[in-house]
Symmetry: C2
Subunit: 430 residues, 2 copies
């Protein structure tokens, strides 16, 4: 951990002044403007709209997604630096632009968040069904996968695509559900999801070998297949999260075309040429402010239930798994807060050590655990929310319940992982 105020062997033990901060902010602003240019050149079609295009021509989309990510990345860093080193910056300017940067990175993040949430949940459904994530017939699945797999072309990892295509191509229960006990529980139809399932089923039929035929009595259901419930749950989540994602995409496009955004871009352009420091900033020491950021982090971590989190399988994260309250778990909030404080601390280190300093892998690991915590927490909420859809089949609801609990255990696992990497940091620096 960066205890630069304690560690006499720190390479930057000499004073780090406002000049270093100005250099860092200029570099981030330049990166922001570069990413914005790329994003405009590639048409900003990185998201849901990319699915309307043919896949081979999707390179522009990939670039656009990278550009959007770079935009968010530099916006976060600028915003964090304005916060941590507030006393060194012209207060009028920095207080005005900081909320705008937060609005921008929040707006740009939503589309990616929905896409990643859907991928996480569909992957989990396959894992929970014992389906192979990289099956041999993935190629067939992609070729025939007009139902589900084409939904998110553009910004997902190829591995995730394979997994989702495999779901489309998964054989057995969908075609031969007559002997599946869960079939008896699906009397109440799920009109919302049925269309999707039918789509997946037809894709399945295209991909299936000729001898498989329609509803033939399959011998023994293979454990590697999706149940009707899992397939319907996946289709329901696909529908709901794709809709949310499409809306987020439109919102992001609107935001990037708005006068509000242009004001932000102007502010960043100013930053790239001249950082509005206070008069005293050029010679002021950054370290006390960075140390204060670290202290806020340390205090927040100290308030976490780390002893419990370090005890594997403590079953804390699922305590409200059946709570009637659909709101996010209150127990997650302090962890989300630490995630933000850890990021502020990491960016403050970057500002002081320059962008070319070696990355602290332990800080990175802790941060990744907290990202995983946030993602799993929100995915669990999405599963619980989907289970409240009216008139879904019991088998669908059951699968969503299993999925919800699985993601809450991911939450608990992420807390454990954070505790482990945090303890390691303590040992490493003491």
């Amino acid at each position: 951990m960066a205890q630069q105020h304690l560690d006499p062997t720190d390479p930057v033990a000499g004073a780090v002044t406002g000049d270093a901060l100005a250099g860092y902010l200029r570099a981030q602003a330049t990166e922001f403007l570069r990413a914005l240019r790329v994003h405009r050149e590639t048409g900003g079609e990185g998201g849901a709209h990319a699915r309307a295009k043919s896949r081979p021509a999707g390179n522009g989309s990939v670039d656009s997604v990278d550009a959007a990510r770079a935009l968010r990345r530099s916006a976060r860093r600028i915003s964090a630096s304005l916060h941590t080193f507030r006393p060194l910056l012209d207060p009028d300017w920095s207080e005005a632009i900081r909320p705008e940067l937060a609005w921008l990175s929040g707006t740009l993040a939503m589309e990616h968040a929905y896409a990643a949430r859907l991928d996480r949940l569909l992957l989990a459904l396959h894992r929970l069904s014992g389906a192979p994530v990289f099956p041999a017939q993935a190629g067939t699945g992609i070729a025939g996968g007009t139902g589900i797999a084409a939904g998110t072309a553009g910004d997902s990892a190829a591995g995730v695509h394979s997994a989702r295509a495999a779901g489309t191509a998964a054989d057995g229960p969908l075609g031969a559900a007559a002997d599946s006990p869960s079939r008896t529980a699906s009397d109440a139809p799920d009109p919302a999801a049925d269309g999707r399932v039918a789509g997946a089923a037809s894709a399945l039929r295209q991909a299936a070998p000729p001898h498989a035929g329609p509803p033939a009595p399959a011998p023994t259901p293979d454990r590697g297949n999706l149940t009707v419930g899992a397939a319907k749950a996946g289709a329901l989540l696909e529908r709901q999260l794709t809709l949310a994602r499409t809306r987020a995409h439109s919102t992001a496009l609107q935001a990037l075309g708005s006068s509000r955004f242009h004001a932000v871009a102007d502010g960043i352009a100013l930053l790239a040429s001249e950082v509005p420091l206070t008069a005293a900033a050029a010679t002021a020491d950054l370290r006390p402010l960075a140390a204060a950021a670290e202290e806020r982090l340390t205090d927040a971590v100290a308030a976490l239930p780390l002893v419990t989190a370090g005890h594997p399988y403590n079953a804390e994260a699922l305590i409200h798994g059946l709570s009637p309250d659909p709101a996010p778990h209150p127990q997650d909030a302090p962890w989300h807060q630490v995630r933000l404080l850890l990021r502020l601390h990491r960016y403050a280190r970057e500002a002081m050590h320059g962008g070319d300093t070696s990355v602290d892998v332990r800080l990175l690991a802790a941060g990744q655990s907290l990202n995983r915590h946030r993602d799993a927490s929100e995915a669990a909420a999405a599963a619980a929310q989907a289970a409240r859809t009216p008139r879904i089949a019991p088998a669908t609801a059951y699968a969503l319940g299993v999925l919800h609990a699985d993601q809450r255990h991911e939450v608990e696992a992420a807390r454990f992982a954070f505790q482990q990497s945090w303890q390691m940091q303590r040992v490493g620096t003491s």
Copy 2:
């Protein structure tokens, strides 16, 4: 661990002969006959039938349950000893009585297993709902708990009773479900469970303060209450497992009155007076046979995926959580097998060291982990099975899905705990 063939400091390093085995078998047979006498004197009413009696008069039931447990306990030990030390015993006699003892302890165990499974699942439902397990109003709950809490009077721990009574007395969502989103998902009625829920709800109304009234809009749903889904899931499990338990009780009573049982009792009576050892047994060394039992255990443990199990949150146990196959998880079988081999090893140690030897707490801990593994595995299967009940409400199915996943994580946690205690044993004996 008992590595008496390796450890020169073992207190019984001298030869242990068939005489010790005869003494052990006689003691267990005497205990069996004593327990049988108590069981007959108390009327064998320890189980489901006890609920027809009033609670203050239930002491006989408690004695009867203890007696049934003692019967199973000694039957297991006799059967295990006949197996491990087979070459030292009259083969005709031991081969004839061993399957009969297995039948007897298996038959007697079922009723307790169903009761314990129900308690485990209801406790988990409360934990998952964030409901306090020992709430202040537990007394009220017991007094008014004619719906659910009276179902298992007699052989459960008082704490469990409090928890279940608390469920009956839980306020809020049942009465004020109109504003709960999950209510919208319960259009499909669950005739099987509704009667029970109505019972619980009426008990609730009896226990509720007068101002609570029927369907009044509650302010904010408290996280400590059961959702409609959790309450219905609990009622469904209660109904299914109580039925299974009542049948098991009848089967056990029939078994204890059968001529087949009387033949077993006669065999045990013979054992209490004269153990049918072979001619060479009196001077034969028990240790090679006990060592062979330990070796079978060690080999089986070595075949377990202990590296995975020792990695917390490995998510292995839930891999088939949505599998269409309702059969028990094949991945659980080797653990169940180790559980049996560990028991054989423990009883072999008892036979050699005498009943008064100090208990190896590490062996006990490992065995308890495997018991927990078995219990959670079977509870998870019961939840999955209940979710296949036709025409249940989606909210019920959702709660059962969460419950199933929770119990599968208990399975994983038990494997982790076993791995930990097993590693400790290795360190302790090396």
